[in-house]
Amino acid sequence: MAEDFVIEMLHITKEFPGIKANDDITLQLRRGEIHALLGENGAGKSTLMSVLFGLYQPEKGVIKKDGKEVRIKDPNDANRLGIGMVHQHFKLVECFTVLDNIILGVEETRFGFLRKDEARKKVVALSEKYGLRVDPDALVEDISVGMQQRVEILKMLYRDNDILIFDEPTAVLTPQEIDELMEIMRGFKAEGKSILFITHKLNEIMAVADRCTVLRKGRCMGTVDIASTTKEELSRMMVGRDVSFAVEKKPAQPGEPILEVENLVVPSKVHKNDAVKGVSFQARAGEILCIAGIEGNGQSELVYGITGLEKVTGGHIRLCGQDITDAPIRERSKAGMSHIPEDRHKHGLVLDYTLGQNMILQRYWQPQFQNHGFIRKAEVEQYAEKLIRQYDVRSGQGVDTIARSMSGGNQQKAIIAREIDKEPQLLVAVQPTRGLDVGAIEYIHKQLVAERDAGRAVLLISLELDEVMNLSDRILVMYEGEIVGEFDPAKTTVQELGLYMAGGKKQGEAKA
C-alpha cells in the first residue's frame, strides 16, 4: 500500500544566478507527523519552503498534494491548499489588536462593515482548544514575542490550514516558552495536522520530531526516523564531519578588570524610557563574561553605549582605567576595544566593498596601510590575504570578492578575523554565531576561548542559552534594562536562567 503523504515535493531544483539553492530535493510529508527540516545556513531550507509557499517557482520538480500534482504560484494558492507558515520574522501589524491581525485578509463583512463577533468566538475557541494563550484585544506591539508567535499560529489555524510550516520558531523564545511550543506542536499532531519544522537545533528535533530530512549545500542528504538516529548522526549528515558540541576550555583565570561599567544609562530609540537603567559590572582579563537575556531587554543598547554607537545619558565606562564614557568610536578602538557587531550587514561590513577593503575597515588610517593619505594597495592585499588564510575565510575571488556575495558564515568569519587581529584588550561579541551553521559556530567558539586564554576580556552578548552555558565563565542576566542576576554557569541551570530572563525572579529582591 502506498504511504499516506499529504505533501510531496519531488526532485525540486531551484537555481539562482551562480548557485543551485536546491538540487534535486525530495521531501515527503506524512499525514499527522512532525517532520523536521535540518540544514546549515545556506543549505537551502528557506528556499525549499519558499517554493512550497509559492514565493519561488522551481526550475524542475513537482509538488503533490494528496497524491495529485498542484501548481503553487503564490502564497494565496498555498493557503487554499491548507498550507500555513509561521515566518522566522513575524508578519504582524504592530498597531493592530491580536484579533484584527488574525482575521486580516479573511475578514467577514456585512454591508461593508466588519463582523468581529463570530471571529472572536472562533479565535477564543481555537486558543482554548490548543492552549494558545492570547488576549484578543491587546495590541501586538504590547505583547511578548512568545505571544506574537502564538498569534501567528492562530492565524494559520483560523484559516483552517492543516499543513503547518514553522520557520526556526524557537530562536526568539525562552526555554519555558520552547517547552510550551513543543507541547502545542504535539497537540497539532494528535489532531492529525502535519507539521514541517525548520531548525538547526538538534535537541529540539530529538525532542519533538518523527522524521527528519537533512539538507547540505542544496542537496538532500536523506530522510531518517528520529527514533533510530542520534544527535551525532544528524549533525554528521548536516555538516559532513564529526562536530563536538561541548566547548573545550580550561578553567578561567581572571585577572585585572579591563572594562568597568558604572550606573550606565542609555536611552532607547523606540520608546521614551531608558533602555539601559543604571547597569554596573566589570569584565576582567582572561574571562568570558556573558550577558544573557531575551531579545529587546536592553542588551543591544548596552553594547551601543559601551562601543560608542549611542550616546549615554548617565554613568561611566572605563577601559583599562581610561575613562571612555564620551570618547569617539575611533578613540575606543585605539584604546583596545574590538566589536563584533550584532548586525553584520548593517554595522559589520560595507557590503559593496571588497573583502580586502572590509578587512581594513577599522585600521585603514594606520601608517601600515596608508602613505600620506594614499592607500597602500599592496600592503592591504597582503594583509587581507594573511587574514583570509589564517582564519579560513572562503570566498569566490579572494581579496577582490565583493562582501555581499559571500555566505553569512564567511562574512562573520571575516569580521571576527578583523576584530581579533587588532589584538584588543576587550572583545565585545554580540550574538557572534547568530544564523550560522554548526561548523562555523564551533570555529567561532574556539576563537573566543582562544582570546580569553590570551588574557583578553571577552564580553559576550547572546540569546542562545546553550551558547551562554557552554562558553561563559560568568553570566549576567538582563531584564528590562537592568541586571537581575549573576550566575556561575557551573552552578546554575538553563531553567533557572530562563526564570530570571523572563522577569520571574530578581536576585536583589530575594536577598532583601
Binding site: P328, H347, V350, D352, Q357, L361, Q362, Y364, F374
Partner: protein, 370 residues
C-alpha cells in the same frame, strides 16, 4: 599566478558601457521619431544635423569641447556627491555662485583668469557647504536644502550684479545693462587662454584650455576616490553609513566636505564657462540649466569620474547638433528632442539589468543545449 579572466557576462565595467551605449541608441531612435512627428519633411535633414554637426567642422568640434567643459564639471560635482551617498541637486546654484565669484574677480577686481577660477571654486564651495551643514548637523535632506539654495543663489546673484554698476556691460561702453560686461572690453586678462588649441581647431572661436583643465580635474577626482583614505572614507559613508560610523569614521565631517568639494566642482564649471570670453551672464529669472544637466551626465557615467568625461562630451555633442537643426525646428522642439535623448540615456541603470539578464539567458540556453 595569473588571475583568470572573468567571463564576458560578469564584467561589470563592460556591461556598464554597453548599457550606456544601448540607452543612447534608444534615445536617438525616439528622438528621430519625434522629429518625424513634428516636421516629417525635415526629419532626415534634422537628424543628420544633430548627429553630424559636431564633426562637420573643426570649429564645431571646438564648440563641442568648449560646451563639454562646464558640463563635465557639473557632472563631476553630482557624481562625486553621489559616490558619497548624497544627491547634489544644488549644482545649478553652486554653478551660479561660482560664476558670480569669477566675474566679480574678473571685472570688479581685474584679476587674472587663474585667480578668477580659484574664486569660482570658492564661490561654489561656499554654496555647497550650507546643504552639507544642514544635512550633517540637523539631518535635513540635502535635496530640499540644495533646491532652495538654487533659487536663493540665483536671486542673490541677480540682486548683487544689478546693484554693482561696474559689473554691467553698460559701464564698459556697451548699451545693455541686463548683463555683465564682455570680458574682451572689461578685462582681457581674465579670459581663459586658448593655449594654441585654436590653431589646432581651425581657428575655432570657441576652444580654450578649459577642456584640458576639466579632464585633469576628473582624473584627480578619480584618484581621490579610488586611491586615498579620504576616498575610502567617503565611499564607505555613501555605501553604508552605519558601518562607517562603526569604523569610527567621522560621517558628519565627510558629508560637509563632500558637499564642499561638489560645490567647488560646480563653481569651477561656472567660472570656466563665463571666463571663456564668449558669453555674458544675463540677469534672468530661471535657474541655469547647466547645473541640472550635470545630473544626466553623472547618471550616464554611473558617477564614474572618467566616465563623466565621455558622457559630457556626448551631451555637448548632441546640444551642438541640436542648435544646427534650426530653423526647420524651433529651439523649443530641439530642446525637447535633446531632453528625450538625455532622459533615455539616463536609463542606463535599467539597461544594465536588461543586458545582464540577456547574457544570463544566453548562457542558460547554451547550457541547456549541452
Amino acid at each position: 599566478m595569473k588571475k583568470s579572466r572573468k567571463p564576458l557576462s560578469q564584467n561589470a565595467a563592460l556591461i556598464g558601457v554597453l548599457a550606456s551605449l544601448l540607452s543612447i541608441v534608444i534615445g536617438l531612435l525616439l528622438g528621430y521619431l519625434l522629429l518625424v512627428i513634428l516636421n516629417p519633411g525635415a526629419s532626415a535633414k534634422g537628424m543628420a544635423a544633430m548627429l553630424g554637426t559636431g564633426i562637420a567642422s573643426l570649429d564645431k568640434f571646438g564648440k563641442v569641447l568648449y560646451q563639454a567643459a562646464p558640463l563635465m564639471m557639473c557632472g563631476l560635482s553630482v557624481g562625486f556627491a553621489f559616490k558619497t551617498g548624497l544627491f547634489n541637486i544644488g549644482a545649478p546654484g553652486q554653478y551660479t555662485m561660482g560664476t558670480f565669484f569669477a566675474l566679480v574677480c574678473a571685472i570688479q577686481f581685474q584679476l587674472p583668469w587663474y585667480l578668477c577660477l580659484l574664486a569660482a571654486m570658492i564661490g561654489g564651495a561656499v554654496w555647497g557647504i550650507f546643504p552639507g551643514l544642514f544635512k550633517a548637523l540637523f539631518n535635513v535632506n540635502e535635496v530640499i536644502t540644495s533646491i532652495m539654495f538654487n533659487w536663493i543663489g540665483m536671486y542673490l546673484v541677480n540682486l548683487l550684479i544689478a546693484n554693482m554698476p561696474t559689473m554691467l556691460a553698460s559701464a564698459w561702453g556697451a548699451s545693455n545693462s541686463d548683463r555683465t560686461a564682455a570680458l574682451s572690453s572689461a578685462n582681457p586678462g581674465a579670459i581663459i587662454p586658448k593655449g594654441g588649441l585654436d590653431k589646432l581647431f581651425g581657428n575655432s572661436s570657441w576652444i580654450n584650455i578649459s577642456v584640458l583643465i576639466t579632464i585633469v580635474v576628473a582624473i584627480v577626482i578619480w584618484v581621490v576616490l579610488q586611491k586615498t583614505t579620504f576616498g575610502y572614507e567617503l565611499k564607505a559613508c555613501g555605501l553604508n553609513k552605519d558601518a562607517s560610523q562603526y569604523a569610527g569614521i567621522n560621517a558628519k565631517r565627510n558629508i560637509i566636505l563632500s558637499m564642499v568639494i561638489a560645490g567647488a566642482l560646480s563653481g569651477l564649471g561656472g567660472g570656466i564657462y563665463y571666463l571663456a570670453g564668449t558669453v555674458q551672464y544675463v540677469i534672468e529669472k530661471s535657474v541655469l540649466a547647466m547645473g541640472f544637466n550635470g545630473i544626466p551626465v553623472a547618471l550616464l557615467a554611473n558617477s564614474n569620474p572618467i566616465g563623466v568625461i565621455f558622457s559630457a562630451l556626448f551631451i555637448s555633442y548632441i546640444q551642438v547638433g541640436g542648435a544646427a537643426m534650426q530653423p526647420e525646428y524651433s529651439p523649443e522642439t530641439t530642446d525637447i528632442v535633446i531632453a528625450v535623448i538625455i532622459y533615455l540615456a539616463a536609463f542606463a541603470l535599467l539597461m544594465r539589468g536588461v543586458i545582464s539578464k540577456a547574457f544570463a539567458n544566453r548562457k542558460q540556453k547554451e547550457a541547456a543545449k549541452k
